[in-house]
């Protein structure tokens, strides 16, 4: 065994390294006297730094996927089995980083004033390190790494939820967030320690193999239970969802946007990777019965989460809270789909499930970004986050009203929008795996959700506003809303492109057909070269 890391492995982590470099710069820059004055003068340089780092991260992830500049997708896990850098992880990273970039744009055009200039570097470094943790969540294949990634995503989120120190709501939100988060991570660790005690390793793949060979164990049950608590907390799954509406309401709106998509994208990617690995190696009768049990349980958690989110959203009067419950419901749909990965694996096509999920994540990122961006503009202009402020938005700013309507209908799953195809695909996958009860739950929940998605639209169109002053917004905000609209309709009217992209990028490290083909090709090459040398040596003789 050689000691040391080859450069090729380190370079596959370029997206994370870009974010890390920017975090270090943001932390060190205010200490250097020549830079301090510039940073105290405006938020501009820091915004530019964050944007540059995120763009660099996205570009390097694309470069690894496309094989530019000598980079390539590694054929196995990197850093001694700690991380998997496969197309699935890289595309989730691209979604997370692009989304964070748009959140930074949103921040710099709406709520930037509430962050003091002296706090700017801390703010930027927290956002970027949160994004770093979420990227690692998408890659982790070792439970130590899972734990580190979840904490690396959580700690900055706690601080960001309470970043606005002047408001009481914000301090209460962060208090609830940190207490529930700490308890969830402690329970997760206890479960993981049992898993280690039983299997003697923390790598996902050997554990999945031993599970397939030996079946049930107490250590496995406690480990899965702990993991579900840890990941369920990040996904705001019932019964550990109650932090989510409070934190979303109390935190500043761009942080809410960030947490609603980027954090959940990382967590669902992690859940899918774990479920898929467990399902992939299962062979024996005994093992598959346990896996069906785990998968059905996860599916059930998803159903309860979605139903709870949709029902509780009925009574909301605060737009951020409404969108928080909506995001709980959407997390529920994604958890339902993740349950499929082990629940029905005789017929399972794990890659199909992974691509349905990737497609959904893209659509979900666009529609949530749009809805929150409109809410941020309205909140900035009216100074209140109540749903009543949307009254007469159609007259005050027709573009915003139409855009908000589209985003809400897409979140509901209206045909012609991306949300429709996302849900249809979920339904088809569930039907294909024979999980009809999940399909029923999906349809019933979609019908439930119509009322509360229509409520803001009705208010916008029919309710008379208190003031008829036109709402104005910065050009950059127009751009953000337009990008979100484009995304929603591009995936809704012509879903083929996004589908093809998601399909191409849904492979994981051990389901990569390419690897086997290449390994076979390599073997053939070795054999033919061996044969050739044999011929040569015979000829020489």
């Amino acid at each position: 065994m050689t000691i040391g890391l080859p450069w090729s492995e380190v370079l596959t982590l370029l997206p994370e390294l870009c974010l890390l470099a920017a975090v270090c710069v943001a932390l060190v820059a205010p200490v250097l006297p020549p830079l301090r004055a510039t940073l105290r003068a405006s938020h501009g340089p820091l915004t530019a730094l964050a944007a540059a780092a995120l763009i660099a991260a996205v570009l390097s992830a694309i470069a690894i996927l496309a094989g530019w500049g000598g980079l390539s997708v590694p054929e196995s896990t990197v850093l001694h089995g700690m991380l998997a850098v496969d197309p699935f992880a890289l595309s989730v990273k691209i979604i997370i980083c692009l989304f964070t970039l748009l959140v930074i744009v949103l921040w710099s055009n709406t709520t930037r004033g509430s962050v003091r200039l002296a706090d700017g570097p801390d703010y930027v470094s927290l956002v970027l390190s949160g994004a770093l943790g979420m990227c690692l969540m998408a890659s982790a294949t070792n439970f130590l790494m899972v734990f580190l990634a979840i904490e690396a995503a959580s700690f900055p989120s706690y601080a960001l939820a309470g970043f606005n120190k002047q408001t009481r709501r914000s301090s209460e939100a962060s208090l609830k967030y940190v207490l529930i988060g700490a308890a969830a991570s402690a329970l997760m660790l206890y479960g993981l320690s049992m898993l280690y005690g039983y299997y003697g390793t923390l790598d996902l793949v050997p554990i999945a193999e031993r599970l397939a060979a030996e079946g049930m164990s107490a250590g496995l049950l406690m480990g899965v239970f702990g993991l579900l608590i840890g990941i369920g907390f990040k996904l705001s799954a019932v019964p550990i969802h109650f932090w989510c509406p409070d934190v979303f309401e109390g935190a500043s709106i761009e942080i809410t946007t960030f947490l609603s998509v980027a954090s959940k994208a990382g967590a669902i990617a992690l859940l899918v990777r774990i479920m898929m690995t467990l399902g992939h190696f299962s062979a024996g009768e005994e093992a598959s019965r346990i896996l069906v049990g785990i998968g059905s349980f996860v599916g059930l958690v998803g159903v309860v989460t979605a139903t709870w989110g949709n029902l509780a959203a009925y009574f909301q009067t605060n737009v951020k809270r409404l969108l928080a419950y909506s995001s709980i419901a959407h997390a529920g749909y994604m958890i339902m789909l993740a349950g499929l990965l082990t629940a029905a694996m005789d017929r399972a096509q794990p890659t199909a499930v992974a691509y349905a999920l990737l497609f959904y994540l893209i659509v979900y990122a666009f529609m949530n970004l749009g809805a929150f961006a409109v809410a941020a503009v309205v909140a900035k202009e009216t100074g209140s986050e109540s749903l009543d402020e949307f009254a007469g938005l159609g007259q005050r700013n027709a573009f915003l009203a139409v855009a908000m309507g589209c985003f809400l209908l897409s979140l509901f799953g209206m045909p012609l929008t991306g949300g429709f195809w996302g849900k249809v695909r979920f339904g088809f996958e569930m039907w294909d795996e024979g999980m009809w009860w999940l399909v029923v739950a999906l349809i019933v929940n979609t019908v439930f959700s119509l009322y509360f998605y229509l409520k803001p639209i009705i208010i916008m169109v029919w309710k008379q506003p208190e003031s008829s002053r036109a709402l104005t917004m910065a050009p950059a905000m127009y751009a953000v809303v337009l990008i979100a609209l484009l995304g929603v309709f591009a995936t809704g009217l012509a879903p083929d492109r996004a589908t093809a992209w998601a399909q191409r990028h849904s492979t994981m490290v051990f389901t990569m057909p390419v690897v086997e083909a290449e390994a076979q090709a390599g073997l053939d090459e070795v054999q033919s070269s061996a044969a050739a040398t044999g011929i040569v040596s015979e000829a020489g003789r």
């Binding site: 009481r168 209460e172 208090l175 609830k176 940190v178 207490l179 329970l187 320690s193 280690y196 923390l202």
Partner: protein
């Protein structure tokens, strides 16, 4: 002779105390202490499992003693410290607004 089961019993007791503390305490720092107890239960588990189950097995196979569990425990200790630092900063901020850290008072956000 002290064996693995003694350590597991200790960790189960720690876990029970921690869970009870989290569920009954109304003071934010009290809850944080409960969390730390559970974290230490996990640490005891990891170190004991490493010593009794896995370190010897690796040596028997001619490899260096396995240290995965020890390493995990080290990471938990460091991250628990970081978590406590963030949590205490948040508690202080909460105290500045509410003049208490009783979580029953955290009821502005609900619905």
């Amino acid at each position: 002779m002290i064996g693995l089961s003694h350590f597991l019993a200790l960790s189960a007791i720690l876990f029970g105390c921690g869970a009870a503390t989290i569920l009954t305490k109304r003071n934010a720092i009290g809850i944080l202490m409960g969390v730390e107890l559970i974290l230490n239960a996990a640490n005891v588990n990891l170190v004991a499992f490493n010593l009794y189950n896995w370190a010897g097995e690796a040596v028997a196979q001619g490899a260096a003693p396995a240290v995965d569990g020890l390493m995990f425990a080290m990471f938990i200790i460091v991250l628990a410290a970081a978590e406590a630092a963030i949590a205490l900063a948040i508690f202080l901020n909460f105290y500045n607004h509410f003049s208490t850290i009783d979580i029953e008072r955290a009821r502005m956000l609900r619905g």
